[in-house]
């Protein structure tokens, strides 16, 4: 599904990613762990095409297509979704209008007719339940006045609406209490299929307890230094990252 080869990227002239190699196959969930400043969020921003980041070397192939040649919205239409670490508020734009614009843009890209207002609202109602999002929230402006937990639930709700094939969860667990974490994680699991994949960026085991990733990567200093099965996350939870640094000679 997604193949990253020797990816180098920088922001404001500073190199953050120094040769990332990563392959995610259909149906797999990968977790990326690492200390703050290791480049985890940079990696997710580069995949979705944030204009502040400059790719200096390497490639990202998504379902056989050169992702780096596409605009952020084309990448979204192709099936890439980012659950933002800090979702922004957009005052004045209702969730309904926002989602409708997003969904219809994707449909247009695929050569499909826009959804009728009735069908669209029905879809909203249905998908809302996946993350137990109150109708009160979906009738408000995008993220405006939402609590931290509501914002994260709203991200997964949007994911449910847009049905991406490749999702990135960028510290979706940060700022969530135990109940909200469970709702978000269970919501995500309901959306998983053998054809969808995900990259989960987190510091903590507790989200991974729910998501049960297939593969764990450790990102240090802009490079993936260790890749292993789910048991690696447990070990990091107990022992931290220092032993890995020693192991790879950093």
């Amino acid at each position: 599904m997604l193949q990253i080869n020797n990816l180098h990227a920088r922001i404001n002239g500073k190199e953050i990613l120094k040769g990332i190699n990563l392959t995610v196959r259909d149906g797999e969930v990968h977790a990326i762990m690492g200390l703050n400043g290791a480049g985890k969020s940079t990696l997710s921003n580069v995949i979705v095409g944030h204009p502040a980041y400059e790719v200096t070397e390497g490639e990202i192939i998504f379902n056989g297509k050169d992702l780096l040649k596409m605009s952020p919205e084309e990448r979204a239409h192709e099936g890439i979704f980012l659950s933002f670490q800090q979702p922004v508020e957009i005052p004045g734009v209702s969730m309904v209008n926002f989602m409708r614009a997003a969904l219809n843009a994707k449909r247009q890209y695929k050569g499909e007719e826009p959804l009728s207002a009735g069908d669209f609202l029905k879809l909203m109602r249905e998908k809302r339940q996946i993350v137990e999002l109150d109708s009160r929230l979906t009738s408000r402006s995008v993220n405006e006045g939402f609590s931290g937990g509501e914002k994260k639930r709203n991200e997964i709700f949007q994911m449910a609406m847009l049905e991406p094939t490749f999702s990135i969860l960028d510290e979706t667990d940060s700022g969530l209490d135990v109940d909200a974490l469970r709702i978000v994680a269970e919501g995500f699991n309901k959306l998983r299929t053998p054809q969808t994949s995900a990259l989960v960026i987190t510091h903590y085991q507790r989200l991974l307890d729910y998501l049960k990733p297939d593969i764990i990567h450790v990102l240090i200093g802009g490079m993936i230094v260790k890749t292993a099965g789910p048991e690696l996350a447990l070990e990091i939870e107990n022992r931290g990252f220092d032993w890995i640094k020693e192991e790879v000679g950093l």
Binding site: V48, G49, H50, P51, A52, K69, S71, P72, E73, R75, A76, H77, F81, L82, F84, P87, V88, I90, P91, G92, V93, S94, N97, F98, A101, A102, A105, K106, Y109, S141, V142, Q158, L162
Partner: protein, 483 residues
Amino acid sequence: MDNKNKFVREVAEKKYEYGFTTDVQTEVIDKGLSEDVVRLISEKKGEPDWLLEFRLNAFRYWQTLEAPTWGHLKMPEIDYQDISYYANPTAGKSGNSGNTKEIDPELMKTFDKLGIPLEERLALSGTAVDAVMDSVSVKTTFREKLKEKGIIFCSISEAVKEHPELVREYLGSVVPYKDNFFAALNSAVFSDGSFVYIPTGVRCPMELSTYFRINARGTGQFERTLIVCDDDAYVSYLEGCTAPMRDENQLHAAIVEIVVKENAEVKYSTVQNWYPGDAEGKGGVLNLVTKRGHLRGRNSRLSWTQVETGSAITWKYPSCVLSGEGAQAEFYSVAVTNNYQQADTGTKMIHIGKNTKSTIISKGISAGKSQNAYRGLVKVAKTADNARNYSSCDSLLLGSKCGAHTFPYMDVHNDTAVVEHEATTSKISEDQLFYCNQRGINTEEAVSLIVNGYAKEVINKLPMEFAVEAQKLLGVSLEGSVG
């Protein structure tokens, strides 16, 4: 990055949609302004002596004035001798002076192209139109139907002939020719415009609208609109305007006067889309307009709603004089400036009667290198016990090279009055745009969504069909403002 460049390029190639010209035989008088020109205009329109006298008084007064400079505007020098003050595109048909049954098909086509069909069977549902090109009214639709209810809707030139007593009573009663420099100029040389009279107790069954079009080169447009709404009557009125793209500035100095009597209500909506000039700031209409309503009667109501997206320079302050006890006035405005456009616009609410109430909702949107100013006065006279005003002025900035300014003035002479003012300034952030992009919404549409959300409160006040138009217009006007 590629994406951004593509967007900028697409936008740069996009043109003002109404910038075409109509090739029609137009009678244009020689450039220049003098008493003789004022007499000539009056003569061409076959006016009575009292009106000529009104014009001449205005002209003589205008000659003593200097153009105002207090606006937050860089105004180009206007050479008033280099403008033609009368252009008649209907003249081709054997010396017509406007509004006849025989209309040049070219003119019909022009208005069709602008989405303003002049054949009644094709009209927008429930809307009667007075179509004005350059200095004359081309056609007014649904006149007969309205006449059945006693409503008068015609060009002001015809009103002078057919209802001289009404015009004479009200013309200049709300905006006297001594009001300001441009009002004096307009009073001297005004050519055409609309006249509306709604008799006592009549609710006007359709939207009335005037569509202004500048076509001829080197001419100014000086239209004059007069609306009188008698006791217990109601009318909703809409004004639209466009002009061809020219590299010269074209002067548009209009007056709108509204009289609202007891328990009567007038809603006046404007969608202003004059040619704004090109991306380098060349050309465009100078829109210097005096609009005022007099709420004379008890419990009279007047609301101004304006969506201003066009013109190189906009200088206008649709105002309300609230004399009648319990009168209520509203001003809802969205003013958009892009590229090198400049706007200095707002309102004046003059409270004179007891228990009068006014509301001001102003939304400025600035992009490119434009300057956008809100200027508003709330005045409460000694007599205005329990007057209330609420003002809210918001500014939205797109990019970092534009400016937003707020100049609220308050002048309160009564202790029982409550006057509130709120102001905010916000910016569309890169983060907001990227969030939309990631969800598959391109930057152009994202800006349109955000701007329309921001302007919603005002747009919702427009009659339905025009609200849709205004929404589209907001999106189009701001293209190229980001990236």
